[in-house]
Symmetry: C2
Subunit: 225 residues, 2 copies
């Protein structure tokens, strides 16, 4: 299995470009409101303007840039309201995922989740916030994957792309108390899932997402004038 080497013919040329431009925008090199000339990006990534244009359109859908027709493409930071809306969606979708996963039997994802929580506990004890952040990410994605609903997976993927700004730029400095609470909530979610309690799993998951979003939103400061 050499998945890494199995280069998808040219979707790589496309998605790779999209990823790179997204990282460039999120990297903060261009301040919000700055112009992103297509020609510059084309030269920078050694492609023509055509694929750059397509990638920018996608980034517009993700809310990262704003395309003013006949004027140009500008870096745009999602508004606080948009982030709130996205978190509400996240709560609903992940609640559904947990519910669906709880309805399933013993699936491989449960093993991953158990292992994930063990590692998370270790990371918390070790104070390794970076590893913990990665494990949190894996926890949520595993539940969505484990729901065995591919359409849900697709919409969730889209949602998380739109939340990429929040994840990567507004790096929420997790309060220690919040980390403890979060791990506790994770355990509660998994317990409900293992008890095959769809309603309880959904409720626990939504509580967890809501609490996390609250934390993320209070951490996000006011907009500078």
């Amino acid at each position: 299995m050499q998945d890494d080497l199995m280069v998808i013919p040219e979707a790589v040329g496309q998605e790779g470009l999209l990823e790179r431009i997204r990282r460039l925008v999120l990297g903060g090199e261009f301040p919000p409101g700055a112009l992103l000339p297509e020609a510059y990006l084309a030269q920078e990534f050694d492609v023509s303007r055509t694929p750059v244009r397509e990638a920018l359109k996608q980034l517009q859908h993700e809310g990262l840039v704003e395309i003013r027709p006949k004027v140009g493409t500008f870096v745009r930071e999602p508004t606080r309201r948009e982030i709130i809306e996205l978190f509400q969606l996240k709560e609903s979708l992940e609640g559904l995922a947990a519910s669906l996963l709880a309805r399933r039997g013993e699936v491989p994802e449960l093993t991953i989740l158990r292992r994930n929580l063990e590692d998370s506990d270790e990371a918390v004890l070790a104070g390794d916030t970076e590893a913990y952040a990665r494990l949190v990410h894996e926890f949520h994605w595993t539940i969505v994957r484990g729901s065995d609903n591919y359409k849900l997976f697709e919409h969730y993927e889209r949602l998380m792309n739109q939340l990429a700004y929040q994840r990567l730029v507004l790096r929420t400095v997790e309060h220690p108390g919040r980390i403890a609470a979060s791990t506790g909530e994770h355990h509660a979610v998994l317990e409900m899932i293992e008890h095959k309690d769809p309603f309880g799993a959904e409720s626990a998951m939504r509580n967890h997402v809501y609490a996390s979003s609250r934390e993320a939103l209070v951490t996000e400061p006011e907009r500078k004038p």
Copy 2:
């Protein structure tokens, strides 16, 4: 004010094309699964392939078509399993919408909903299934709009396009017993919303969507061999 004559510079060339291709797809001229050649569309609408390509990407984002890289663009044709998955999503998203709407005060959408139910009752008594189908559509969309969550609106739009909902709802409507039950559920949903009961509204909405989906799925037979 001559808004009609205030031609938006060239977004007209773009949006006009997008609208026309969208209507072409929705019109059913191309059956689900059919290939939409870029060259054909370009010639048909007397433009080059480049703007056609951009419009198709937008349509893919809306969920109306599926672009298989290096193969072609096809009118979306959901499998039965995908329809089930999409209905699960629909239940979750509409539940969220009803919940959010119930949290809001007296908003214009409530007036629309009350009027909608009056008209629906009339349509049921008159046996006007066509009008009823249209009103059902309006009911659901009004709730999603009334949720005041634009990101939810966007995801819902994509979901409904993928479901090709308008194709499904027509078959569902033909069951007299189901129509009576459906109207009753609509009334229950609105009542919960008017009582500003988010949990009750979400629950009622999800029950309704679930019942409708069951009906749609039994109505939709197996795929022809």
